[in-house]
Symmetry: C2
Subunit: 364 residues, 2 copies
């Protein structure tokens, strides 16, 4: 049997340098754990635009459809701010999500004990925090038509459409309930059903799927504005949160920031199973391309390395190996190693991106 | 000259009991400061539905258009959850906002020093915090057409439309720049221009208004997800934030929760100037109807009282009197008086809604 295949898309900014550390980790698993991958690498985002005039070529898109999993670094940067909307770096990422139909975006918000001090929240509020936000990723206002800027009379009008079908809601609700069963068995669904009809449908469908298929899971509903408040007030009240693409964008970033460990948080975007049973999948860190520190060896590679751990768990059925990698990361943090983003205590010297990667390898 | 007119809409849940305290304050200003108002009272929300089958009658709507300012308590409650979307309590409030064309929603997020301990954030992060969020309130996805739940093939589809015209963006941008000039002269505008064309137009128009009319104000732009993060990480970096209706809903609630003083925060919703030069205006507390504690004398009347202070400032050009009222509130807090929502320290007995109102009167 041939090795499972990985497509690596380092992208822009700090993407390439954090991905270089992930490559070392991938190689280690091939050499030491008999978990070899066929790895190919390609462009996405601004660098793809520079090379090809598009943030994602058709060839790269086709390759992403074939592989067992895609690993992405980050896209975007001020250099590309003036580009036309249709070729912005982000469109490359959005095309991948849409055409691979990666409808369930898993965003764990976990507080690493060694790093709780970096949170702007009180230690008792975030210590031990471990929640999972499931964000719908292929529909809603990110993709709905009509959209654009049109002229009406003598003014411009900006239009986007929030649109959710019953089946789009149902499938991501199932992802949330399935995950909850492996965790604390609690799902909170968030929308604005008091203001938006798409939210009314969202709430109804989530409730229907629950009642018909997952009556054993504890389900609650919350308006998204109250959700933002409750996440800030007492995040530990949540286990799994399921919400739409746009609310999920804000709420998962908010949740990530609560932990104080933004440079640490991975994500998985999963679609339907392929012929080989594996889900279509893309893994990426939650942090962005951080152009201000790119190329300086300051970036924290952990979020990207933990994204690979998620790949091991969700694409390659290697939960034990994922655990091994996560433990290595924890061990390095416990030793006091910190990249520049994690500095706070006086007298601690930051390690470089590569030193952090090497230290994790050494623990493996 | 006749007295300025106030329409009071206590609404549902704790609305009536907090508004009763505001009435005492209004009477005090009439008796002691020669600032008498013609006050009328009416129904909005669930109680209006109970009485009339609609959350806002045409007669109440007409009255709201005539008066100098509307003061609202809160709307909604579980009793009304099963009502059809078109007659939900919230529709009464949304109709007021829309028909009075109250496009600029001012939401101060201020941390009361005496209450900083109630924040889930570290004291150094929120102590002294004083930011102002200007939320567009009459357009965007709250009101855009088409909307609704339709059937397509054999499934339901939920649809809402985000729609902003250039002039809608321009006028709320002006409100933000005007306010910034009276504060720290800094505006941060938030949207998702990397994903939504309506956000691209938003960013462009805000920048154009800035360059043409307010070049002296410091302007920055931020994606709304990054905004949620930055508000959580270090909220004091902001002075005035301007954003759309939906992002403003989440971000202003998030900002309110940062302060730990949710029961304390007022809001003003302002429209264009009327014939008498006063803006159309509605004032309401940020907190909701809190049905779980309604009728028990536990509610905190301060947010609603401070909403009246905003009315004094923005509708009645009585900034000094507003200040007087705000100082009375601060004095009562400094004395250690706490309603039940503000308890934390052991040994402190909560005061009732009415006791808090009376204490504030005593300080005036
Ligand atoms: C880069 C951008 C298009 C993206 C989004 O808005 O989805 C990012 O913020 C994310 O959350 O993955
Ligand atoms: C009650 C509801 C309609 C309202 C809104 O979503 O605007 C509330 O959350 C608010 O922020 O004033």
């Amino acid at each position: 049997m041939s090795n499972p295949s990985l497509l690596i898309l380092p992208g822009d900014g700090i993407g390439p340098e954090v991905m270089a550390e992930v490559r070392k980790v991938i190689d280690w698993f091939g050499a030491k754990r008999d978990l070899a991958f066929d790895v190919s690498e390609d462009l996405v985002g601004g660098c793809a635009y520079d090379a090809h005039g598009t943030p994602l070529t058709d060839a790269t898109m086709a390759r992403a459809q074939e592989v067992d999993a895609v690993l992405l670094g980050a896209v975007g940067g001020p250099k590309y701010d003036q580009l036309d909307f249709s070729v912005k770096p982000e469109r490359g990422l959005l095309r991948l999500r849409k055409e691979m139909d990666l409808y369930a975006n898993l965003r764990p918000a976990q507080c690493f004990d060694a790093l709780a001090e970096f949170s702007s929240l009180k230690p008792e509020v975030v210590g031990g925090l471990d929640i999972m936000i499931i964000r719908e990723l292929t529909s809603g206002v990110y993709f709905g038509e009509p959209r654009g800027i049109v002229r009406e009379g003598n003014e411009r009008v900006g239009i986007n459409t929030q649109r959710y079908t019953e089946s789009e809601i149902a499938r991501v609700a199932r992802s949330a309930f399935e995950l909850a069963r492996k965790r604390d068995n609690k799902v909170c669904s968030m929308e604005k059903a008091n203001v938006m009809e798409s939210g009314v449908l969202w709430r109804d469908v989530v409730q229907e799927i629950h009642d018909a298929e997952y009556p054993d899971v504890e389900l609650s509903h919350m308006y998204a504005d109250a959700g933002a408040m409750q996440l800030t007030r007492w995040p530990k009240q949540f286990d799994v949160i399921v919400t739409d693409n746009l609310f999920g964008d804000l709420l998962s970033d908010l949740a990530a920031m609560l932990t104080g460990s933004l440079g640490m948080l991975p994500s998985a975007s999963l679609g339907a199973p392929m012929a080989n049973g594996r889900p279509k999948a893309l893994y990426e860190p939650v942090h962005g391309s951080a152009p201000d520190i790119a190329g300086q060896g300051k970036a924290n590679p952990i979020a990207c390395i933990l994204s690979f751990a998620m790949a091991l768990r969700y694409s390659f059925d290697a939960g034990d190996e994922a655990q091994r990698l996560e433990s290595a990361v924890n061990a390095v943090l416990a030793d006091g190693l910190r990249t520049a983003d994690l500095l706070g205590q006086e007298g601690v010297e930051p390690v470089t991106t590569a030193q952090m990667g090497d230290a994790i390898l050494a623990k493996l």
